[in-house]
């Protein structure tokens, strides 16, 4: 373990702002990249379900 305390870890020897900014934005972007296709798939499934219902109502 490189750091002595948690506060030490957060401050990163005075470079905390930069390190956490870089890691923070990267995390956000990676999560967005992962969530977008998941949401897209859900939407596709939903659309299909709606279409099926419509087809059943008008035989």
């Amino acid at each position: 373990m490189h750091f002595d305390s948690f506060a030490d870890f957060i401050s990163m020897g005075g470079h905390g702002l930069y390190v956490w900014m870089a890691y923070g934005l990267t995390t956000v972007l990676l999560v967005i990249n992962f969530v977008l296709p998941v949401m897209h798939k859900r939407q596709l499934v939903k659309e299909q379900a709606r279409k099926m219902r419509r087809e059943q109502q008008t035989p």
Binding site: M1, F9, N33, P37
Partner: protein, 250 residues
């Protein structure tokens, strides 16, 4: 024999249904390895790796900057190769893979740019420095935007795929030329400033987490690429029976 096996595999790969099924089995693996590597690499890089004697703790940004920069370039190559396969063998799945590459690649390029800029502030004292790597990343981002813009400018999906395949092939030919000319230009204008990541020798404790992160980023890319391509398949093949059956069963 090898060739025959490869050919059957290649032909199967061209079938959207087969691709959909096989990647469905692969995604949990790639996703799992990605999550594991990214977690281990981040914890290792942030907590345990020693700090750089010159740059201190801001050096820890390397564990995302370098993997993102590597991915930014590899994804462009992947996109061009997939586009080329789609162009030559008229393989629809390859077109969809190429299309799915572009947004992920642009994200990686942006991450490399952003982390480079943030890293530059404590290192050079400025948010933006016309450093060779950052400048070529910026141009690469423009190339990605070009491909995405061209992709969305066409009404027909087929023309969009082919046109952007040509553009990404032209881009791939140009990337090394751009890279070397930017490096040359950089040495001309700012002699002897030290670059962010070119260390004479990185000790093992610094190097290992980087390797883990690179693997993690590659697996993350593979996972998202497969997810996006699968969605693309569902959308384009939605009139086929297997897709309708598959979607309504969920």
């Amino acid at each position: 024999m090898m060739f025959e096996t490869f050919r059957t595999w290649f032909h199967r790969m061209g079938s959207p249904k087969w691709f959909y099924d096989i990647t469905g089995r692969w995604i949990p693996w790639f996703g799992g390895i990605a999550a594991l590597c990214l977690l281990v690499g981040t914890v290792w890089g942030l907590f345990f790796a020693p700090q750089d004697y010159q740059q201190g703790n801001s050096f820890r940004i390397i564990y995302i900057h370098v993997p993102a920069a590597i991915l930014a370039q590899s994804i462009f190559f992947t996109m061009a190769i997939a586009g080329g396969i789609g162009l030559i063998w008229k393989m629809k799945v390859a077109d969809m893979v190429a299309k799915s590459c572009a947004p992920i690649g642009a994200t990686m390029t942006f991450i490399a740019l952003f982390t480079g800029a943030v890293w530059g502030k404590p290192t050079w004292g400025a948010w933006w420095v016309w450093d060779a790597r950052l400048t070529s990343m910026l141009i690469l981002l423009f190339l990605y935007f070009g491909v995405i813009a061209l992709q969305s400018a066409f009404d027909s999906k087929q023309s969009a795929a082919r046109a952007s395949a040509i553009l990404s092939l032209v881009g791939v030919v140009n990337i090394p030329i751009i890279k070397y000319s930017v490096e040359w230009w950089n040495t001309l204008h700012q002699p002897a400033t030290f670059t962010l990541t070119e260390k004479p020798a990185m000790p093992m404790e610094m190097w290992m987490p980087l390797l883990v992160m690179v693997i993690g980023f590659y697996c993350f890319f593979a996972t998202v690429l497969m997810m996006r391509t699968r969605n693309e398949i569902l959308e384009r093949e939605k009139r086929t029976q297997w897709v309708q059956g598959l979607l309504s069963s969920q």
